[in-house]
Symmetry: C2
Subunit: 684 residues, 2 copies
């Protein structure tokens, strides 16, 4: 696999000027300082730097070069790649910018063409380089980090740079780093596939603004999350953020809610800030997994303990008080003035032994412990750190330490590091990291079905124009989606027949390809009680449709006391078919109580969707309301989510409202929009 | 004012052992290092330290001592205070712990008694000391901070210590600091009153877990916010946090939602984490006020720009694109590859001049600029900082800089500091600080009515037992709250009379002091259409109440198509009468769409309450629903909120539902609970 040549090259050529202050000069300095020796410089002057030899072409180098790192001016890059190709170089990191990100699509295509021709795989252009600490390889302009188990793939070089600098400052061990820039060749999916199998990578961090192929991305992430945690920042989650990613990478992001669903479906953990990304990488790399949400907070000062408890509870951790047995064991050695609630407050008198014993006992009862030490300058934090470290070492459960202020407790933090324990900037941030760990563990344990690839679906929707309501209802019915008994009427007489056949009271709705918002135009009449009313209603609807292409009216039974929900299908530009479920009616607009999944969903996922909307208690039955038929609903959601894989031209389907009864459900209204172009992946 | 003696004493006595490693020793070291010379030590051995003289009693000191700082053992403190009193000491800081926080209430009362006897004002016990940088006075065990305009009052010494340490590390100027501990004498209210008028204090930071008197606290905060920003952490906002504050300070906190309302009503800004507190103090102290929410993000790297834009939009800032005029002016000097959207991306090629000109122009169009610089190690951030600094200096609008990674751009950050510009840990945190600044500005501009004190109300609720529905409705009506036409019936015959008088269809409800949940017991019958149905309904209700104290039934008109809202009154242990407004019906339970104010509210506040619930669009009329009578609603909310100031024994009132019509409103159900004890402040 030639991606391997990126990370473990036999030799590296830095192509670009090595005059002082130029990027080539800085790169060679960085590579040499990092300890990698098999490096040469290539530039027209054949100028070296830092005892590294210079050549005027890659083809003239007299030893094996597997990797070229290119910082030469934009117009020279194609020729450089050809030179590399002729010299048998297997991989390149093209740091040089000036390609698709500034509209130079042709230049970028040319790079890809040349690379393909010579069998070169490359990262970039417009990237910040790569790192492989195990190989002591640092061809990047960012801070060389210490070695360890986190690998970081970043669509933004600067975000990568921040994380690497923090890795050095706070001691986070990095295995591999790739800033993949414009991703003209190697992109995030291939890198994820590589890291899934990479034994040196224990935790994967990912910064993305867009992905190349939503479903392939999901499969690649899933391959990783089956073996190691994946922590993701997906930037561009607001409209201004998306506008910025568009100008930044030239790529269109899909809907943010769909990214949320997709990342959750493939078991990744989505965070929002670089600080969260960093904290969580620390937690996953250095701490054992957590098996539940019960946390004890052990502190030597009240206020920071309270703040950590507030945060912990707010994000769903369980800050339960110690049970009587634990309280009694703690009171055997802790002074009477220590609060034995949770937080357990050792007070400023807290000792090494107090921390050690308290943590050890708390770790028996709880799933994890937050160990806080907020020390005034006169207090020696080193013994307290030893107490925390000893307790952590003797347990298979995580201890999240926050010793602060950092400047004052630096010695204590160093001791914690010697135990392999990370420290967090504040107790609140430690609590946040723990909540994410717990969330990862619970989703990780849940079985994740693999999504099908998108293939051309065998059938097409009936007809070819806009589907009218009677046609759409018939089609839904044929596909196993329950619709109410209905009749189509083209005259007052037929309306009466329909009313009688269904049984009064009934509802009548206009059918016209030109009327979308039926009730706004007086095209919906409720609670029609008899033949006369049916005739009158039909006339009223015909009048309301005056000047429009009037086809008739559809007649339904009048439905009362149903809970209204909605089901939706749409196509995301990145992920293809997406299914939605939410509360119907007027409250959808205010509360946006709706949830999405990349389609199709299986039964377990459908149930998960139903249970995760906030209004779920309303469906279960509250305040004397009967519980609704959630079994039937889940079944319909599964069938509905499969429709785009049977019919190739589904663009959007809204079933809104769907009437949900204590027994069964029926569609109350349907709108179907045909797709005007193919799904991603449906290249027929 | 003797609080002045705390901050500007003519002499300070440190009372406690000065043996090496003891707190007295550390304190004297800190005081001497800080530059304060008028300090002596007092302990039985008359031992000095660091060239400071020792005495065996305060009364034996031969120069004026205004302030005693006490770290002697708990049992000695009363005698120390007496000694101080005899020597004419005016103020004390009692750091020694072991009083009310560990249940020693008697000991704490004794301190207060002695202090009162001798006219000594004191901070503590169980506190971390005070700071007055202007006086170079650091009688505290926490980190001495640099001098500046932020004063910090902290109920937690450790939280104080963290903020002071960060102040030193990141350069935040502190005027005064008080850790007030158990607040046996001086507490947060008096300190706020002092700081409101203190010319050296430009920004007030406050960490509280509880307050002494809610309304006096609000008045004190309001006195501050009329002149300077007040940033507050109120900890204990969850149940575990509250449990912790209870054990920490021994004081009961009120409801968190009421604190939220109270702080908003007196113009303070509530934040949740120490990091937010710190960031916002920086912003308020070093930046000019912001007059709106339009922000330009100027960056030299895409990813961090996107993250900042995401965060900014998410918290309500307006990240609008530059107008055509600004775009055209920017394109005159920026290279074509720079994205002129928002973020404005100068790319890694961004120059000093590029930052200077771009910021200068952006500051003309926007209310504020976030200036991001994320630099690889080879890039010199100093000129970029100069560009940012020059632009900020030439504008009266705020520039929030985030230069990172901190280790790499330390020189640039120093340059920003020389311009008086703070830097923020990330662009996201800068955006958060800006959003708070904008929120402060808009609430600061709004007129804040001063809350009335709580005095004994002149009247009492009618009767003395539980108020039944007919009685409660009459009372509401007398007090200007609209109720529906209703009749009380004690027999089937009276029920028919009531039904006829009101006009069918009607609703009938059981009246019994023993039936609270009327509909759960079959005590509510809807849509009664005629005399027979009325008779039958009365009998049904009588049967439903079998075995209970049945008094009769109340008869209302049947109401349809109203929007249900709720109004509530309750009494908070800290703030007294509180008024609530929210959406009624089943959705209240799911969505908790409810808002609170410390009562009473005026018209403007009532309108604010109505507009701030999330369901407000439903009240305005959406999807063909008519708009509701918000004018009438606001009027009723005002009258309702004044009731506790007329009737002394209102414990709780729930009006739920209140039926809100396109014209007018009526109460649909009422529940009144009498207060069994006095309001805070009502000591008759």
């Amino acid at each position: 696999m030639s991606i391997q040549s990126l990370f473990t090259p036999r030799g590296v050529a830095v192509v670009g000027s090595t005059s002082e202050g130029k990027l080539g000069y800085e790169l060679i300095r960085q590579i040499v300082r990092g300890g990698y020796r098999q490096v040469v410089a290539v530039n027209p002057k054949a100028q070296g730097a830092f005892d590294v030899s210079g050549y005027d072409a890659v083809a003239h180098i007299d030893r094996p070069i597997d990797l070229a790192v290119v910082v030469s001016p934009t117009p020279t890059v194609p020729a450089v790649l050809k030179d590399c190709g002729r010299a048998g170089v297997k991989a390149a990191v093209i740091i040089t910018a000036g390609f698709s990100e500034v509209g130079n699509l042709a230049g970028e295509k040319e790079l890809k063409r040349i690379a393909d021709q010579y069998g070169i795989r490359f990262v970039g252009p417009n990237c910040a380089g790569i790192v492989n600490t195990r190989h002591r390889l640092f061809p990047t302009l960012e801070t060389p980090p210490p070695a360890g188990g986190v690998s970081f793939i970043a669509q933004s070089g600067a975000v990568g740079g921040v994380l690497l600098a923090w890795a050095k400052e706070f001691g986070l061990g990095i295995a591999k780093f790739v800033s993949y820039g414009n991703a003209a060749d190697i992109h995030e999916i291939e890198l994820l596939e590589y890291l899934a199998a990479d034994p040196e990578t224990q935790v994967i961090a990912l910064y993305i603004e867009s992905v190349h192929d939503g479903r392939a991305f999901m499969r690649a992430v899933q391959a990783c999350t089956r073996r190691k945690p994946v922590v993701v920042i997906k930037a561009g989650r607001t409209s201004s953020g998306q506008r910025a990613t568009l100008s930044h990478t030239g790529s269109m992001a899909g809907s943010d809610a769909v990214y949320d669903a997709a990342l959750q479906q493939c078991g990744a953990i989505r965070v929002h800030t670089i600080e969260e990304l960093f904290d969580l990488c620390q937690a996953f790399l250095y701490l054992p997994p957590v098996s539940g949400r019960r946390v004890a907070i052990v502190t030597n000062s009240g206020g920071p303990g309270v703040l950590a408890a507030d945060r912990a509870e707010e994000i769903g951790l369980d800050v339960a008080e110690p049970g009587p047995a634990l309280k009694s064991r703690l009171s055997e050695f802790l002074p009477a003035y220590c609060a034995l609630k949770n937080p357990i407050d050792l007070t400023v008198e807290g000792t090494e032994d107090g921390y050690r014993k308290t943590l050890t006992l708390a770790l028996e009862e709880y799933d994890a412990v937050l160990a806080l030490n907020i020390a005034p300058a006169y207090l020696d934090s080193v013994p307290l750190a030893r107490g925390v470290g000893d307790a952590a070492r003797s347990s298979a459960k995580p201890v999240l330490a926050s010793f602060l202020p950092r400047e004052i407790v630096a010695d204590g933090i160093a001791v914690l590091q010697s135990y392999g324990l990370p420290t967090f900037a504040t107790g609140e941030r430690a609590a946040t990291a723990l909540a994410y760990m717990a969330a990862y563990q619970s989703t990780h344990q849940a079985r994740k079905p693999t999504l099908p690839e998108i293939k051309p679906a065998p059938q097409r929707l009936p007809g070819d124009g806009q589907m009218l309501e009677p046609e759409a209802l018939l089609w839904l019915q044929e596909n196993g989606i329950p619709v109410p008994d209905f009749r189509f009427a083209r005259s007052g007489q037929e309306a009466v027949g329909g009313g009688r056949a269904i049984g009064y009271p009934v509802v009548m709705k206009v059918v016209s390809p030109q009327i979308l918002h039926k009730s706004d135009r007086g095209g919906v009449i409720l609670d029609i009680q008899d033949d006369d009313a049916a005739r009158a209603a039909f006339e009223a609807i015909r009048r309301a449709a005056r000047g429009k292409d009037f086809r008739g009216a559809v007649i339904y039974p009048m439905i009362r006391d149903a809970q209204e929900v909605l089901l939706g299908l749409s196509r995301d530009p990145q992920f293809g078919p997406v299914v939605a479920f939410g509360m119907g009616g007027i409250h959808t607009e205010v509360w946006r109580d709706i949830t999405f999944r990349v389609a199709p969903v299986d039964r377990a996922q459908a149930e998960e969707m139903i249970q995760e909307i906030k209004s779920f208690p309303l469906l279960q039955g509250v305040r004397g309301q009967p519980p609704r038929d959630l079994d039937a609903l889940a079944g319909v959601l599964v069938s509905f989510s499969q429709l785009p894989f049977c019919y190739s031209d589904i663009g959007e389907i809204d079933l809104n409202p769907v009437f949900l009864f204590p027994k069964g459900l029926v569609v109350g209204d349907v709108r179907i929009i045909r797709a005007t172009h193919l799904w991603p992946g449906e290249q027929q």
